[in-house]
Amino acid sequence: MATFNFQLGKLPPEAQKVRAEIRDFLARTLGGTSATKRALSWGGFDRDFSRRLGEAGFIGMTWPKKYGGHERSALERYVVLEETLAAGAPTSAHWVADRQSGPLLLRFGTEEQRQRFLPRITKGELAFAIGMSEPDSGSDLASIRTRAERVEGGYRVNGTKIWTSNAHISDYAIALFRTKVVPDKKHEGLSQFLVDLKSEGIGIRPIIDLAGGHDFNEVHFQNAFVPDDMLVGKDGDGWKQVTTELAFERSGPERYLSSIRLIIELIREVGAEPGERAAVVIGRLTAHMATLRQMSLSVAGMLQAGQNPNLEAAVVKDVGTSFEQEIPEVVHALLGVEPRLGSGSQFERVFGYLVEHAPSFSLRGGTREVLRGIIARGLGLR
């Protein structure tokens, strides 16, 4: 049986220094932001905030200076992620670009693409969406059907992407298209493209979520043209590139901190001298959160050391999303309050937001079932 390699990660002194800096920045920038806004966690979209964060040097932290990066360590970046999430900063306008699109271009992009996009990302000026899922694919990414056909000077794209978060307010999407149909080999013939979302032939239709929010979209391609220089990596290498990208998506502190605002507001609600039951609940949640933090830090340490902790990242995401989903349940069991939206106390509204959004935590970035399959493979069961 393969064993998991969770070793204690220790933050270096320079990371602690970054913590003080980002905390100071967030305190200055977010002062007066309500608890309900902070509860949005990494769902909040605010271009102005992202620009200020970029100006302060907190986006593209590990990237080379020649692309506008800051050549800091992965652990220094990790601390910035932790702090922005814990503070409930609206990170969505730069989140995908910083976490996935930028690193993807650094790995597989052309020099011209890097120079064109990376500096603007680090300034917090470019918002990216992810065009992976399709109406019939869901977590089965290899089954995508959207075709990009070779034409003079580029590709002609037809098909539909779905669940594309923020496509309606982003500048670009990195999308996976089928450039070649290889019978019986669905992982082959896939390619990744940078897509300008303002291009002709692209229609974006909102999908309103159960909370009435507009985050998801359907993106329709009707003979949309994508020029050659927007192909990312090699034609046909898309699958390999995407799986690399997913590793970035599964390892961060965002996988256990989505509900932290509710814990904070719960502590405020029960006061400085809580009764026995409330104390037990708060103590237990704290113990789980502290442990998840150590697990997540451990993965960050492995990434920093150049290892490939795919399996450990899947474990953290599985345990972490279960934890963040459990929090509204635990709060309900303790206090029995009604989740509210526009009315009620601040606590009831934070609770209401998380009750409604918690189901998504174990869907985004690979469903729980997909992750458990990955873990089971790591255990040698399949």
Partner: protein, 352 residues
């Protein structure tokens, strides 16, 4: 893990694989003291890994103790190894010599109280402590007791107490010891470097490592079983529902291991109150859930005495309640977190 600890883990695994057989555990469950095994542990320096050499230990750190205790949990070693380590640490940190042989500690339950009173040049011990591990079998009992001079650590010999024997679910001895003006071998004020609840927190720390080790056994044993066992014409491992249950067990095992690891590291850094609370809560909860999954995956065979799965699951069910159960530590931690205030939660967490 550094090289020394890898070596230590290998030593434990080798020794326990050979020695801690089902027959040995069964005989211990009937009340026999595994004297030969104890002697081997002592000779290999496994009973006092973190005690300074000047006091008869191996001169290592708590991180070394963790390796040994995890192995004791994984193999269901029926001896007071954890209790000996804790007892020796309390003595050593309070400036007292550590006697040879197995030790135990009292009190284990948060509500039990013991007291030391001056008698001539020495001290005598009074009070009752329940659920003392190997209370009658251990050579000495290390006690944490109140006195007019303040909290103290004392050492009393086997036989100094009136003993009512009992056992836990795993049939490990858990005796009630009552002292009435009992003579004390040595006693001293609790060492300045020790936390006020040193005995209980060190006990909780040790149990967290044992439980994390026990969970590792449950995971590897369950994976092995479902890979070999065929049902409906194919190995259980090929059923997705089984795969997902074991992925869940793997998550709890990893979390328990991480929590214990962090607590032992904090112990070596010198201040581990927060981390021990987290570790006892997390490993205790994982033990309950993990034992449930392991039994479900094993089916009826795992529920028999003949199969060795229960040697570990019965221990996990008992250990999680000792030296303060999850509810005890969670209330303590929760009250502390609440007193610091809502906005201090994250800064506090990241300061640890």
């Amino acid at each position: 893990m550094n090289d020394t600890r890898t070596l230590l883990a290998d030593t434990c695994a080798r020794l326990f694989t050979d020695q801690v057989t089902p027959a040995l555990i069964e005989s211990a469950e009937k009340g026999a003291w595994p004297a030969a095994l104890w002697q081997m542990l002592e000779e290999n320096g496994l009973t006092l890994p973190q005690i300074p050499e000047s006091r008869g230990g191996a001169g290592g750190a708590w991180g070394d103790a963790q390796v040994v205790l995890a192995a004791c949990g994984r193999f269901a070693v029926p001896l007071p190894v954890a209790e000996t380590m804790i007892g020796a640490w309390l003595l050593s940190e309070s400036g007292l010599d550590v006697p040879l042989g197995p030790l135990t500690v009292a009190p284990v339950r948060p509500a039990d109280r013991l007291s030391l009173t001056r008698a001539g040049a020495g001290w005598v011990l009074d009070g009752v402590a329940g659920r003392v591990p190997w209370g009658a079998a251990a050579g000495h009992v290390v006690v944490a007791a109140d006195s007019d001079d303040g909290p103290m650590i004392g050492l009393v010999a086997r036989g100094s107490a009136k003993c009512e024997p009992d056992v836990n679910l795993a049939l490990e001895p858990r005796d009630t010891l009552g002292w009435s003006g009992a003579p004390v071998v040595t006693a001293a004020l609790v060492g300045a470097g020790l936390p006020t609840d040193a005995l209980r927190s060190a006990g909780a720390l040790a149990r967290s490592a044992q439980m994390a080790g026990g969970l590792e056994f449950l995971l590897s044993q369950s994976v092995k079983y479902v890979t070999e066992r065929v049902q409906f014409g194919r190995p259980l491992a090929s059923f997705q529902v089984i795969q997902h249950q074991l992925a869940l067990l793997a998550g709890h095992t990893a979390a328990a291991g991480m929590a214990a690891q962090r607590a032992f590291a904090a112990m070596d850094e010198g201040d581990a109150g927060f981390e021990i609370a987290c570790a006892k809560i997390r490993t205790g909860e994982a033990s309950g859930l993990g034992a449930g999954i392991a039994h479900q995956c094993h089916g009826a065979i795992g529920f028999t005495y003949e199969h060795s799965l229960h040697f570990v699951t019965r221990r996990l069910w008992s250990w999680r309640a000792e030296f303060g159960a999850e509810v005890y530590w969670a209330a303590l931690l929760g009250r502390e977190v609440a007193a610091r205030g809502a906005d201090a939660l994250w800064p506090y967490l990241t300061s640890r």
